[in-house]
């Protein structure tokens, strides 16, 4: 199981939650170990915030590891996560593609990504993609990954 450093709101020296809104439970970014690999300064990993009803993540990179990230957050917090949500960006010119680019080009396979969640977390997971701003790709895509409890593919 990957190990992640959780940042309780009260103890976060950087203020992990926007404006200190007490509605947020935890900030769960900057893990120390993933799959036994120690990520040192300069390594990158998706960040996230655990809200009372869902896990918000950044979808910045390491997309393939997000299911394990979710599993780790569940294990460490004891909170059952039924919804993972975030905004997928378009890469800057010259940078490697990000999730938003795969969605835009039609290459992102939502069913396959849902199966990746199933393999790690069980149940069926449905992936829903929509423009962050309706009709406008400039601001990327909202991606919701929802657990259908008690189901299997």
């Amino acid at each position: 199981m990957p190990t992640f450093r959780l940042r309780p709101v009260e103890a976060d020296p950087f203020g992990g939650t926007s404006a200190g809104d007490p509605a947020f439970l935890q900030c769960v970014d900057e893990p120390a170990f993933i799959n036994g690999h120690h990520f040192s300064a300069g390594d990158e990993w998706t960040g996230g915030i655990l809200y009372p009803t869902y896990l918000g993540i950044s979808f910045a990179e390491r997309l393939a590891d997000v299911p394990e990230f979710v599993a780790a957050v569940e294990a460490l917090t004891g909170v059952a996560i039924n919804l993972v949500s975030g905004t997928a960006s378009l890469a800057l010119p010259g940078d490697p593609p990000l999730l938003g680019d795969w969605i835009r080009s039609g290459l992102f396979d939502t069913a396959r990504y849902g199966r990746a969640f199933n393999r790690v977390l069980g149940d069926t997971w449905r992936v829903v993609v929509r423009w962050h701003t309706p009709g406008d790709p400039r601001n990327g895509y909202d991606v919701d990954i929802r657990r259908l409890r008690g189901t299997s593919p």
């Binding site: 709101v9 009260e10 976060d12 020296p13 950087f14 203020g15 992990g16 939650t17 926007s18 404006a19 200190g20 809104d21 007490p22 509605a23 947020f24 900030c27 970014d29 900057e30 300064a41 300069g42 990158e44 990993w45 998706t46 960040g47 996230g48 915030i49 809200y51 009803t53 869902y54 918000g56 993540i57 950044s58 910045a60 039924n82 919804l83 949500s85 975030g86 905004t87 960006s89 378009l90 800057l92 010119p93 940078d95 829903v128 962050h132 009709g135 406008d136 790709p137 400039r138 601001n139 990327g140 909202d142 919701d144 929802r146 657990r147 259908l148 409890r149």
Partner: protein
């Protein structure tokens, strides 16, 4: 919320926050930005993963939380006009990000926004006309 509903939209500022004595330096900077944007009439919204606001003549900003790197919060900065994206970059200092956003929303130029971001840009910038158009396809 049931498991089938989408997350709620980011709440509009002002909303309840931690007592000031519990604010961190980062909280204070974010709150100062939200308050400044609110007072200027830009209707800011924030939920931890993103901050957004809209200004005059269709100007808008979207600031996306992109996790941390080397202990510093990363923000994707998107400055839009009504019909095009004027600037995108990633930066690692919300004070600079907020200053750039307020400059943009106040009608200042992309160059002014870039100057506000200063040395805090960690990816990009990408500036119009290299940016994506407002309407797909």
């Amino acid at each position: 919320m049931t498991q089938f509903e989408s997350p709620p939209p980011a709440p509009s500022w002002p909303f309840p926050v931690l007592p000031p004595e519990q604010w961190t330096a980062e909280h204070r900077i974010e709150i100062e930005f939200l308050e400044a944007a609110y007072q200027a009439g830009y209707a800011p919204r924030a939920n931890g993963m993103e901050v957004s606001a809209g200004g005059w003549d269709g100007l808008s900003v979207l600031l996306l939380n992109r996790g941390r790197e080397r202990g510093k919060r990363r923000w994707e900065v998107i400055l839009n006009t009504a019909d095009r994206c004027a600037l995108r970059c990633w930066a690692n200092d919300f004070a600079a990000v907020g200053a750039a956003a307020l400059a943009w929303l106040g009608g200042e130029s992309v160059e002014a926004a870039l100057a506000a971001l200063g040395g805090h840009i960690i990816r990009g910038p990408s500036v119009w006309p290299d940016e994506v158009p407002a309407v797909a396809g």
